[in-house]
């Protein structure tokens, strides 16, 4: 039987991205964020998620995209990777889709203007392209990158 994966689809600008649903904890509406001084540039701050302190990053900043506006559609997707729980600010979260594993192809070197290191691959669904993120890479800056951003 073919392996089917599910992805949470969200938007940054015109592009659609997907994260594996197994890594997604919840999706929250925008809420007050407390700035954390001396944090990496893409960290927006921390939020109170039902009594837990959860750091929130701005995915646009992380990907080097121009800043977006906060609207009624803006969401914080809370993801978990190993011991890290982090919220990601996105323009909107649209749907959950199913993709067979073989519909996910390795990422081309340039996809939607973002660093290919952040990508796991590209999913093809009908005529749409879905950029699938590698959260591990996004949330854990490499040593060299860490020196640059701190």
């Amino acid at each position: 039987m073919e392996e089917v994966r599910q992805f949470v689809v969200f938007r940054l600008g015109q592009e659609e991205y997907g994260v594996d649903i197994l890594q997604v904890n919840t999706i929250e509406r925008m809420m007050p964020i407390t700035r954390v001084p001396k944090a990496p540039y893409f960290v927006e701050g921390v939020i109170n998620l039902r009594g837990e302190i959860v750091p929130v990053i701005d995915l646009r900043k992380r990907f080097g995209l121009p800043p977006g506006e906060i609207t009624g559609d803006t969401r914080i997707i809370i993801v978990m990777v190993d011991d890290l729980t982090v919220g990601m600010i996105v323009d909107s979260a649209t749907e959950v889709i199913q993709l067979p594993q073989d519909a996910v192809e390795p990422a081309p070197s340039v996809a939607g203007n973002i660093n290919s290191e952040f990508l796991e691959g590209v999913g093809k669904l009908n005529d749409k392209l879905l950029i699938i993120l590698n959260l591990e890479k996004i949330l854990r800056p490499s040593e060299t990158e860490q020196r640059a951003i701190m």
């Binding site: 407390t34 700035r35 001084p37 001396k38 921390v46 009594g51 750091p55």
Partner: protein, 655 residues
């Protein structure tokens, strides 16, 4: 293998190994039956556990230890230093193997054969049990209890003899117990019967075959006893022989020690009530703690709501009641997390014993306040810094016996560990009565290391000079010759303690000794804090770090070498602009007056300029999590009554 069982095994094994260590040391200084039993029990349990888990080496080694302990229990092996040494070595080996298991899940290739050989040697070198062979059956097979042994000892002191009277009844004797009773009667007139075999009750009930033994203490001769017994008819044979005091001398000695310990009920209790506890996963406790924290947050929120609306007396009363319950609940949960510092201190007798032997010093360890309780998280972290201080004290503080005698001090040095509560803190003192720290030499060294100007040195107070010892790298070279080696790694100690929210202080007097004073917060989870406003942001400053708050006119801010300072009651205090340090968008006009929070770090005072004070509050400390660890200036975060997150300033990092 199931990890869950492995963890339980490791945890319990460590506990038993710790028990073995402690009790062996007790056995060395104060032998008693209870201690031997306790050691035996630990070894036995460990053997069983290891066997079940398939750790054969541990099980084999503990088995051999058990054999040796059995001999000690019988009293046939005297307790010597060598014997304790051998057993301690075995315990070390057990520890090594458990550590290996913790790391790799298996025992590794530790060679236990030498240890077993040593155990066997100790057992055979002392052939106490072998002597009995050339003597007839009887006394050597019988064991006297402590009470009887005491009687025997008294008898020996009074030059009375102990006799064993063997009586065999005639085959056709009908009323066996009646005959026995007559024999008793006859002997009772001559002295004191202390024991019979079988038990006198069994003899009365005719629960014996044809023969019995009577042990008695008397001044009469063998002949008198024989005559007396022979006056009873229907006896087949009678035999009387002396029970030589040498045969029970060893047991006597052991028993006396047992008795002396028994008379000290506190000691016995301490050993007895080892672990009647419930093992709870620390995560569950953390969870409980989190819930209590939530409760405190919502309580604060209710209080704030209440202050805003004008709603009857009754609601306020209800909230006050809620407050009382929450704080009681908080205390109760905190208590569950509290463990006596004994858990850490109990490692130290062994450390001190081994180190003082190694250094050829005579050191007595005095422990006070071991029952003082601290939060579990603090307990786990405090062991290493303390060991460091103990090593320092033994290595560099306490002098050799000859040096001490030369100074007119007792040969034996004293190392004192003392823990006690002081307000919301726990204080741990590590003090020695050694040579003290040479403050002059510390200053010289500090000047050499350019930590201080030559000219400024004179102005420094002693305490400021001693603080140089905590500088990293201080005195790692020229150890013992220079400043008696103090300071080696003291920076590590200080960093660790400060990371726990505590502080260290040194007090020293030449030739009288040195005391390290460690101050730790009772709990790490909930603290009192002052909330301050900076721009649009709110920050929490732990109250424990705050000395006072002052409001001073802006024009009183002065500049000394590019650094801003204020003058407060004649003291120059450097000030920091928090908004700049924390990159807070400057959107507030500089007020005419400055609000300054004076915080202390050790002996140093620093002023922090803030926009406004928002009042004191009980806050629950939460971490920023793994993703944002090592953020400068921020110690953690807390959730305010309105649900917003406020960051907690790390005063140590700011200054």
């Amino acid at each position: 293998m199931d990890n869950r069982y492995l963890n339980v095994f490791l945890e319990e094994a460590n506990e038993h190994i710790q028990n073995l260590n402690n009790n062996l040391l007790t056995l060395e200084s104060k032998p008693s039956h209870e201690v031997v039993d306790e050691i035996f029990r630990s070894a036995h349990t460990l053997k069983g556990m290891a066997g079940t888990m398939g750790f054969n080496k541990i099980s084999e080694l503990t088995h051999e230890m058990e054999d040796l302990l059995h001999e000690i229990r019988n009293g046939s092996l005297p307790i010597t230093n060598t014997l304790i040494d051998v057993l301690l070595k075995c315990v070390d080996m057990l520890q090594e193997m458990t550590e290996q298991i913790a790391r790799e899940g298996r025992e590794g290739d530790t060679d236990i054969r030498p240890a077993i050989a040593k155990l066997k040697k100790v057992m055979s070198n002392e052939p106490v049990g072998g002597k009995a062979k050339d003597e007839p059956e009887g006394a050597d097979n019988i064991s006297f209890n402590e009470f009887e042994l005491r009687l025997l000892e008294e008898a020996a002191n009074k030059n009375l003899k102990t006799w064993e009277v063997y009586v065999e009844l005639a085959d056709n004797c009908l009323l066996k117990s009646a005959r026995a009773f007559l024999v008793f009667k006859a002997l009772e007139n001559l002295g004191e019967i202390i024991k019979t075999k079988p038990h006198v009750q069994d003899i009365e009930d005719e629960k014996f075959d044809k023969e019995f033994y009577i042990y008695m203490i008397t001044s009469r001769s063998e002949e008198d006893l024989l005559n007396a017994v022979n006056s009873v008819s229907e006896l087949k044979s009678v035999n009387v022989r002396e029970v030589k005091s040498a045969n029970f001398q060893k047991k006597l000695a052991a028993a006396r020690e047992m008795l002396s310990v028994k008379e000290n009920p506190k000691e016995t209790n301490r050993i007895r009530n080892t672990s009647k506890t419930l093992r709870v996963d620390i995560e569950r406790l953390d969870n409980l703690m989190n819930l209590v924290s939530e409760l405190i947050i919502i309580k604060t929120r209710l209080e704030e709501l209440d202050s805003l609306t004008e709603q009857g007396q009754k609601r306020r009363e209800a909230i006050e009641y809620l407050e009382r319950i929450t704080s009681n609940l908080h205390d109760a949960v905190m208590k569950v997390r509290m463990v006596p510092i004994e858990n850490v201190f109990s490692r130290f007798p062994r450390v001190v014993r081994d180190l003082s032997r190694e250094l050829n010093k005579e050191v007595k360890l005095v422990i006070e306040g071991a029952e003082t309780e601290l939060d579990r998280t603090v307990i786990d972290e405090i062991g290493d810094p303390l060991i460091h201080l103990i090593r320092n004290a033994l290595d560099h503080g306490i002098e050799t016996p000859s040096e001490r005698v030369g100074k007119g001090k007792p040969r034996e040095g004293t190392l004192k560990l003392k823990a006690f509560h002081d307000g919301n803190n726990v204080v741990i003192e590590v003090s020695d009565d050694g040579r003290g720290i040479d403050v002059e030499k510390v200053l010289e060294k500090a000047q050499k290391m350019k930590l201080v100007d030559k000219s400024q040195g004179k102005k420094l107070k002693e305490i400021e000079i001693l603080n140089f010892l905590f500088e990293s790298g201080f005195s790692t070279s020229e150890r013992v010759t220079d400043i008696s080696g103090r300071g080696v790694g003291l920076d590590v100690v200080k960093t660790k303690i400060e990371s726990l929210g505590g502080s260290v202080e040194i007090k020293t007097r030449k030739n009288e000794g040195t005391t390290f004073l460690i101050r730790l917060p009772l709990t790490l989870a909930i603290i009192q804090a002052l909330m301050v406003q900076l721009g649009h942001e709110k920050y929490a400053i732990p109250l424990s770090a705050i000395k006072e708050t002052v409001i001073i006119p802006y024009k009183e801010l002065r500049k000394v070498h590019k650094n801003e300072v204020i003058l407060l009651r004649g003291n120059v205090i450097p000030v920091l602009r928090l908004d700049e340090m924390l990159d807070i968008p400057a959107n507030c006009l500089k007020n005419e007056n400055l609000t300054v929070v004076i915080v202390k770090k050790g002996e140093k005072d620093v002023g922090l300029i803030v926009d406004a004070l928002l009042g004191e509050q009980e806050i629950v400390i939460k971490t920023l999590g793994a993703f944002l660890k090592n953020i400068r200036f921020i110690a953690g975060a807390t959730i305010l009554g309105d649900g917003q997150v406020a960051l907690i300033l790390d005063i140590n990092a700011l200054i």
